[in-house]
């Protein structure tokens, strides 16, 4: 790692970057355009997001707020927990713990820095963590292992039984830094009384762990308030998803990213609701005018990503889709499994979804346990890919409901879980009539395959399959 990288806390730097970005539009348009020249590695992210109007502005503001919260957590006397994208942070907010989501921070750095997270990725290897592990955690955890992030109090993950390489990153870092560790474990089955009881007991154990770490009891009123806000967010997301079914889709391509990132950052908090509400407002307006959310206005194709996005610098994936008239119909991260989501009511069993019940403390714990066990990836990619409620069924269901013309897989070479069966999945989705493209890139590390090569191969696939 370069000496200059060690000069400042990385999270403080990231906070400053987003805080500055959030202020860019406060001047005139000319001033804004002039400023973009001075942030050559970041200007396209800013322009893409701010180009969406109020939602993009609010989204950058909550990214800044999130970074500010974790940067100054210790000064405010709060505990910090390193956690993962597929762990709903609602429980942390209810217990006044500041969550630090590794993957979201990795995405932020990959978007805005020329070198992405490369130095932190490599630092992990220097201290003994395997180079074959997933880059989504490695990209940020390396900074904490190097001691250039805010002080961490605990590690909490919910991926054992879902993603080893994720769970292992948390286990490794907690052992390396000698910090407390908690895992929510996931049995192979999503539904049924055994799994439900297991989730409940496991979540109760998590609450005991968090209470022990913070020295505070869980405040049911606060959790209730948080879950009510979450239910409101679910309603908005459900409407956005419903609108995405229209032809043309009135949602701009970057909305998917903003939906899931907002939820990963501020589930159950007004910050997330604010972004979602402003997206809904524009989506409704577009829908009323029957116009596409694509900047070119013409929808040529609809793509469903069955796993994650490619977070190449400057949001180039979104720009590529938008520039080619490809409507982005979501990925496995952007579809939540609330009982009122269109994909739940239309093709799924209600049992596979969660419902928020704020009646009493038991129902609150059950609700938050169910939410966690049905988070993106946790729900779909735990048991066998072709089991009920799992990856194949979810992928085909979502692709059909949102009218996808093709399915795209993108992940990281560290994803043992999906690479272990993606060939099988692709065979089945092709049989079901969906041209399926497996990207061999690394979503978080352009050194594995440059974005230019990734884009070229993607476009080649579209040509070969005569989709364009």
């Amino acid at each position: 790692m370069r000496n200059e990288t060690r000069e400042y806390k990385f999270d403080w730097m990231l906070w400053n970057t987003f805080a500055a970005a959030a202020r860019l539009k406060s001047g005139t348009e000319n001033e804004y355009r002039a400023m973009l020249k001075y942030i050559p590695y970041f200007n396209r992210v800013v322009d893409t997001l701010l180009g969406t109007g109020e939602p993009g502005q609010k989204f950058i503001e909550i990214c800044s707020k999130y970074m500010e919260n974790l940067t100054f957590a210790k000064e405010k006397g709060k505990k910090t927990a390193i956690t993962t994208f597929c762990f709903s942070p609602a429980i942390f907010y209810a217990m006044d713990i500041v969550p630090i989501c590794l993957e979201v921070l990795s995405v932020m750095m990959t978007f805005v820095y020329k070198r992405g997270t490369a130095e932190f990725l490599d630092y992990c290897n220097e201290v003994g963590f395997t180079e074959t592990s997933c880059s989504s955690q490695r990209g940020t955890v390396g900074a904490y292992l190097a001691g250039i992030g805010t002080d961490v109090d605990m590690f909490v993950t919910d991926t054992p039984g879902v993603c080893d390489t994720n769970a292992n990153a948390f286990a490794f870092a907690s052992a390396y830094l000698d910090k407390p560790f908690f895992q929510l474990d996931m049995p192979p089955d999503l539904t049924g009384s055994r799994s439900n009881e297991y989730h409940r007991e496991d979540f109760k154990a998590l609450i005991r762990f968090l209470e022990a770490q913070t020295g505070k009891k869980l405040d049911p009123e606060r959790l209730k308030e948080n879950l009510r806000e979450l239910a409101r967010q679910d309603e908005i997301i459900a409407e956005l998803e419903d609108l995405a079914r229209l032809v043309p889709n009135p949602l701009p391509v970057s909305y998917n990213l903003m939906v899931y990132a907002s939820r990963f950052l501020f589930a159950g908090m007004p910050e997330c609701t604010g972004v979602l509400e402003s997206m809904l407002k524009i989506a409704r307006e577009n829908a009323a005018k029957k116009i596409s959310g694509l900047s070119g206005g013409v929808e040529k194709l609809r793509a469903f990503f069955c796993y994650i996005d490619h977070y190449a610098q400057n949001m180039q994936l979104w720009q590529m889709l938008d520039g080619n008239g490809i409507c982005y119909q979501g990925n496995i991260l952007s579809h939540f499994w609330s009982h009122n989501a269109p994909h739940v009511s239309e093709y799924h069993k209600e049992e596979a979804a969660y419902k928020i019940d704020t009646t009493n403390i038991d129902s609150l714990i059950d609700s938050v346990g169910m939410i966690n066990s049905r988070m993106p990836m946790i729900k779909s990619i735990r048991g066998p890919y072709d089991a009920p409620n799992m990856w194949l069924e979810d992928t085909l269901g979502l692709a059909k409901l949102y009218g996808a013309d093709l399915i795209v897989y993108n992940g990281t070479p560290g994803c043992r879980n999906t690479w272990g069966m993606v060939k099988l999945l692709a065979r089945d989705t092709e049989k079901a009539g969906y041209p399926t493209y497996i990207m061999y890139a690394d979503a978080f590390d352009a050194r594995v395959q440059s974005w230019e090569a990734t884009e070229e191969r993607f476009m080649e696939f579209l040509k070969v399959r005569r989709l364009v």
Binding site: F129, N168, F172, D185, P188, P384, V422, K423
Partner: protein, 381 residues
């Protein structure tokens, strides 16, 4: 010793052939979290599935993606080649992501080619932590497995049968404890290669025969003058069922006197309580005993186990090996290296592929260099 080597280096060995000739069933499993006693109680031979003997992974690569451990790929390769046709059943456990996905890949191969998949195929869930509710869940899972075996094979597994099997396997563990004591002597009566063959044989032959052979082996070993003046190594990390790998490491200068491999000492450590509900006791032992990094958040305990072994076996150096893409062992090896080296215990990390010893030269060179380092250290001391 010949019997052990034969049983540990041939998949369909003479014990399995003999067993099948008598019309009895064989069920394979992929991970040491599956209680053998259940199958013994059902009159079925439990057989640890391995990838040993695969010469390529063309079939494995057809189903698995490229970034996957070569162990399950080799297992699938052998299944695809019909080498596991003697199995009447197979049990897949979520030992790790790669191994978990063997379930789907094997099933898919079975739907592509007739006869590739055994008639009984079962996914056996194993929690990733040890607590009251995880044992409860695992006990129910074990009961689910028992019910499935009973239904498929038309057998009845009674509590009395299970208790009998538990006693038999506990006796085996007692013998293996004695075997381990001999292994840690200043002049061990057998090499690490032989030790691995003895342990592996236990995963592929009827337990009664194994115990009898083990008794004879121990009796003979107790009279042996032992192997002296070798650098004493401990082998740690990913699954290794290849006696040839240990032979390469030992060469003429070293001897592997301890391990913490799932095909090694982790396989027989601890007993099952013989009183009480046998299913619960089996579940408690099998979930609790196993010191695999898949049990997240338990690093300190595993480090402590290694430290005790280092002391007890007078280890000169620790080889921390992992199969490529085995992030669990690979990363934990990084922690072990940091913490053991800090205590003055020389360590060497070694990444390798599972399967044919294509890397013999590289590994031999690295291990020899490590041994030299230890010898120089000794000389200075």
């Amino acid at each position: 010793m010949k019997e052990f080597f034969e049983a540990s280096t041939a998949l369909n060995n003479k014990h399995v052939t003999e067993w099948k000739k008598n019309g009895k069933k064989v069920v394979g499993y992929t991970c040491s979290y599956v209680p053998d006693e259940i199958f013994h109680a059902a009159g079925i031979l439990p057989f640890r599935i391995r990838g040993f003997g695969a010469t390529d992974t063309t079939i494995g690569d057809t189903y698995f993606g490229p970034f996957i451990c070569s162990l399950p790929k080799c297992m699938l390769q052998l299944a695809g080649e019909g080498k596991f046709n003697f199995l009447d059943g197979a049990i897949i456990t979520p030992g790790c992501d790669s191994m978990r996905r063997l379930d789907e890949c094997w099933r898919k191969a079975g739907s592509d080619v007739e006869g590739v998949i055994p008639p009984f195929f079962f996914h056996f869930g194993v929690p990733h932590k040890y607590s009251d509710y995880t044992i409860k869940w695992f006990t129910e899972e074990t009961r689910r497995l028992i019910a499935a075996v009973e239904e498929h094979f038309k057998v009845k597994i009674t509590g009395a049968d299970l208790k009998k099997a538990i006693k038999l396997y506990n006796y085996s563990r007692k013998l293996l404890d004695r075997f381990e004591e001999l292994r840690t002597l200043d002049a061990p009566p057998f090499s690490g290669e032989e030790a691995l063959a003895v342990i592996l044989a236990g995963t592929t032959m009827p337990r009664e025969e194994y115990n009898a052979l083990l008794e004879q082996f121990i009796a003979k070993a107790e009279k042996s003058p032992g192997i002296k003046n070798r650098v004493r190594l401990m082998l740690v990390g990913s699954a290794n069922d290849d006696v040839g790998l240990v032979r390469v490491m030992e060469g003429e200068k070293a001897i592997v006197v301890a391990d913490n491999l799932c095909f090694g000492s982790r396989f027989y450590s601890d007993r099952v309580e013989e009183e009480g509900d046998p299913v619960f006791e089996l579940s408690r032992r099998y979930l609790g005993h196993n010191d695999c990094p898949r049990m997240y958040g338990d690093y300190r305990r595993r480090l402590s186990i290694l430290e005790k072994k280092v002391e007890k076996s007078k280890i000169d150096g620790v080889i921390l090996q992992n199969i490529r893409f085995c992030d669990l062992h690979g990363s934990e090896n990084g922690l072990f290296e940091r913490d053991l080296e800090a205590k003055g215990i020389p360590c060497m990390r070694l990444e390798r592929e599972y399967g044919p010893l294509v890397e013999t030269g590289r590994m031999k060179m690295r291990v020899d260099a490590f041994i030299e380092r230890i010898q120089q250290r000794r000389a200075i001391a």
